[in-house]
């Protein structure tokens, strides 16, 4: 039963890893990997010598990572707690369906919706203009770009991300709530002493996994909106790899950057997992 899945992994994940060798090559697509010249660590130099475009991408990536970890990660937990507190199962199901829906829209559609509503010629600005009122500039404003990206991510995926937390909530033993009630605990006390400890394992697991791809802050979403705000505000490591590597024909350097990003992600996962073990949590796997 596992064989097909294993094969997919071997062919599309592990075998493809060998392609990373072009990070050490002056890769020319028409020569192929074997035919391209070996250049050693040359492609990694831009990360040391300080290509301004690269460091700009690093800075934007880190800021987005921080903002998204602080704002985006806890959002589904809060939402799951709110959903869980709803008494009417019917309303809860309707609300869940509505919240899950945006997850199934592609980024192209989500970005288009935001542009149609908030863009210069969008719904709101057109109405304001017709009333002779001042319009606002959200879509093309570099200062608001991080906020825009974050709100798009939250709108699209917060509902979907509640699924795991809701599942974890159902696994909490109801007798704990009964016992705490007997002890006189109110709703907030129950939340603090029963619900959140019950969710701690899954929160830490997801946080560790999130750290693993924390440097991936949304390639499609950003590349679709990059031209409106310029590269200074919008270039992140993933778009840099694309713009520099594929559009700019620097395949080797782009691979080197991607590889370093992957290594950092792995170190973050392993490191965070160790920290989790130190605090007695299971983490991604038990030690």
């Amino acid at each position: 039963m596992m064989l097909p899945a294993l094969l997919v992994f071997v062919v599309f994940h592990y075998a493809a890893l060998a392609g990373n060798v072009i990070a050490w090559k002056d890769y020319r697509p028409y020569l192929g990997i074997a035919g391209s010249d070996w250049v050693g660590w040359e492609n990694f130099e831009l990360m040391v010598t300080g290509d301004p475009a690269f460091w700009n991408a690093v800075r934007n990536t880190l800021v987005l990572t921080l903002v998204q970890t602080v704002l985006v990660f806890p959002a589904p937990i809060l939402l799951a707690l709110l959903l869980n507190s709803m008494l009417s199962q019917r309303i809860k199901r309707v609300v869940q369906s509505v919240l899950y829906l945006p997850h199934f829209l592609s980024w192209v559609v989500v970005v288009a919706i935001f542009q149609q509503v908030l863009g210069g010629g969008g719904l709101i600005n057109t109405w304001l203009r017709q009333q002779g009122m001042e319009t606002f500039d959200i879509i093309g404003n570099p200062d608001l770009f991080i906020g825009l990206l974050t709100s798009q991510v939250m709108w699209k995926d917060t509902g979907w991300a509640t699924i795991l937390f809701l599942a974890a909530l159902t696994s909490i033993d109801p007798s704990l709530y009964e016992a705490s009630q007997v002890d006189g605990a109110g709703r907030l006390r129950q939340l603090w002493h029963v619900t959140l400890p019950g969710l701690r394992g899954i929160i830490i697991l997801l946080l560790i996994l999130r750290l693993g791809d924390s440097l991936s802050v949304g390639f499609e979403q950003i590349i679709l909106q990059q031209r409106a705000v310029g590269l200074d505000a919008s270039e992140v490591l993933d778009t840099y790899v694309f713009n520099h590597g594929i559009a700019g024909n620097a395949w080797g350097e782009a691979t080197a950057v991607g590889l370093v990003k992957g290594v950092i992600g792995t170190l973050l996962v392993v490191g965070a997992n160790k920290v989790a073990h130190l605090f007695g949590e299971a983490g991604v796997y038990k030690s």
Partner: protein, 542 residues
């Protein structure tokens, strides 16, 4: 066709990126064909170049207004009895795979797409066409190349080491095309000789051209019907006059702006900025370092600041639609877009191309002349055993005006995709979309100025081209090779495009341009200029 993606093309009024990197004009099908106007050519030390393919004019109808190398022939009607230029089906019964770009929405597949199905029948081989939106083409091509997935025929996007890349991936067609050998393919022989230089690498012929003459040159269109309704004469003597007129016309509250996007290229044309590379008598100069650039940037910045273009001009430009639906009075596009605007014109629709006065009112500005050929297409090296079939198919694609094959390729299937009004083929409601297969970037005939049912407009277009072409600036590096251009131009273009976008949108100062231009000149620009100057002299042009 260029290393510039749609994102960058759409950045600053579209045109810097578009023409710098030879990319298309914004959302249009105009533009040049190679980074910095070079490509093609070949590395030093190559063998003596093979002879250019012999030119033999097609036997076709007499034009109503005869053109020349730059100006297309004008026809007011299609011949009552189209000639047959390819008597036998050229295909070998095997599927024929094509990778090409498109400026139109990707078409339906056969059998729903009757134009495509009809072409398959006529060719005797089923076409398997992968159509890629032009803005994404360079990256799709690069990844197809890297993955060893190039099909039988493909439009060649710009890559570093173009001569070596072409030699490694494309079939050398010299034996089939050089000199009189091409006469076996009469429609290809009707392509003007200078277009074949687009596909010459290391002295040999690898690429099939798509002739355009001046038709891909970027111009500024205006809606004469809307201007007349406002009682405004479309006349100005300098930039300030144009700016004032735009301010007068601009009506955001009514949902109609002066321009679709910032008319960057038009402003540069007014200022007489070089059409990328310009030979000044001793060396090549580029537009990036041109002394008028600051003025061009400041004018664009003012335009953007005054909000004279659609508010979505930078975020999601949809220029053709805005212009066609009357949401703007002016729109940058290419001459060749003219016929598209008349495919399904609204009632009373009337357009023309703006003249280009000098920026300060002293003299005239200068149109940027497009390349003779819109890029080039290659035949896969692995398809050597089918080369004659593939060239015969290319010969079919290049069938000239007045032939039955022209109708098959350009219009589709009679009845389903077009019907005759008199002798003129008129596209049905689905015909234009069905026939936009992108094979016109694999091989094409000389473009014809023909607008069925719109004789006056055809005359107008002819007159506009004739007025603007004599003062046009050509890119002096057309089809010359420079190693540094090949390796560094794409990244340079990306940097300048981003900087121009930042300046025009007020995120950076105009004063930041000169240091960047000087730095580029010191880093690689001067080297590019020297190599191109050397190639210019070697080609006997200077």
């Amino acid at each position: 066709m260029s290393p510039v993606s749609r994102r960058t093309v759409l950045s600053t009024g579209g045109t810097l990126a578009a023409l710098a990197a030879g990319g298309p004009l914004l959302a249009s099908c105009g533009g040049n064909s190679a980074p910095g106007g070079t490509s093609s050519g070949g590395a030093a030390g190559s063998d003596a170049p093979v002879a250019a393919p012999t030119f033999r004019a097609p036997e076709g109808p007499e034009p109503d207004i005869a053109g020349d190398a730059d100006i297309p022939d004008t026809f007011f009607s299609y011949p009552a009895e189209p000639t047959v230029s390819v008597p036998e089906a050229p295909g070998d019964g095997q599927p024929l795979r094509i990778l090409t770009q498109t400026f139109s929405p990707v078409t339906a597949q056969p059998p729903q797409n009757t134009a495509w199905a009809n072409l398959n029948d006529k060719l005797g081989s089923a076409l398997e066409i992968q159509q890629v939106p032009s803005g994404e083409y360079a990256t799709v091509f690069a990844t197809s190349l890297a993955g060893g997935q190039l099909p039988d025929m493909f439009f060649l996007a710009e890559q570093p080491d173009m001569p070596d890349m072409v030699e490694a991936t494309c079939l050398d067609l010299s034996d089939h095309l050089a000199g009189d050998a091409i006469l076996a393919y009469p429609n290809l022989a009707a392509i003007p000789s200078d277009c074949w230089e687009a596909g010459r690498y290391n002295g040999r012929l690898y690429g099939l051209p798509s002739p355009r003459g001046a038709m891909s040159s970027g111009v500024l269109y205006r809606r004469d019907d809307l201007l007349a309704a406002q009682g405004v004469a479309p006349e100005w003597d300098d930039f300030e006059g144009f700016f004032s007129l735009a301010q007068q016309l601009n009506d955001p509250r009514g949902g109609r702006w002066a321009t679709t996007i910032v008319p960057g290229q038009y402003i540069k044309n007014m200022l007489g900025i070089p059409n990328f590379w310009q030979y000044d008598g001793t060396t090549m100069q580029s537009w990036w370092t041109a002394p008028q650039m600051e003025e061009a940037l400041e004018a664009q910045r003012r335009w953007a600041e005054a909000g004279l273009m659609n508010p979505d001009a930078f975020a999601s430009p949809n220029t053709k639609v805005w212009f066609s639906t009357g949401a703007a009075y002016f729109n940058p596009d290419s001459f060749s877009a003219w016929s598209q605007y008349f495919a399904d014109p609204p009632e009373g629709f009337d357009i023309d191309v703006c003249q280009i006065p000098a920026f300060d009112g002293d003299g005239t500005g200068h149109l940027w002349m497009s390349f003779p050929s819109y890029g080039r297409a290659g035949i896969n090296r692995n398809a050597a055993d089918r080369v004659e079939t593939l060239l015969k198919v290319a010969n079919y694609f290049a069938a000239p005006f007045g032939t039955q094959e022209y109708l098959d390729v350009k219009m589709g299937q009679e009845g389903a995709d077009y019907t005759f009004e008199g002798t003129d083929p008129i596209a049905t409601s689905t015909g234009a979309a069905n026939s936009a297969l992108g094979v016109r970037y694999i091989a094409d005939c000389r473009i014809a100025n023909y607008l069925p049912g719109h004789e006056d407009s055809a005359r107008k277009l002819d007159a506009s081209i004739r007025e603007l072409v004599p003062d046009a600036f050509r890119n002096d590096a057309v089809y010359l090779y420079s190693e540094t251009v090949e390796s560094d131009f794409a990244s340079s273009a990306q940097m300048f495009n981003a900087l121009e976008a930042d300046i025009v949108q007020g995120r950076k100062q105009v004063s930041e341009w000169r240091p960047a231009a000087d730095q580029w000149w010191a880093d690689s620009g001067q080297q590019m200029a020297e190599e191109l100057t050397e190639a210019y002299h070697a080609a006997g042009r200077g």
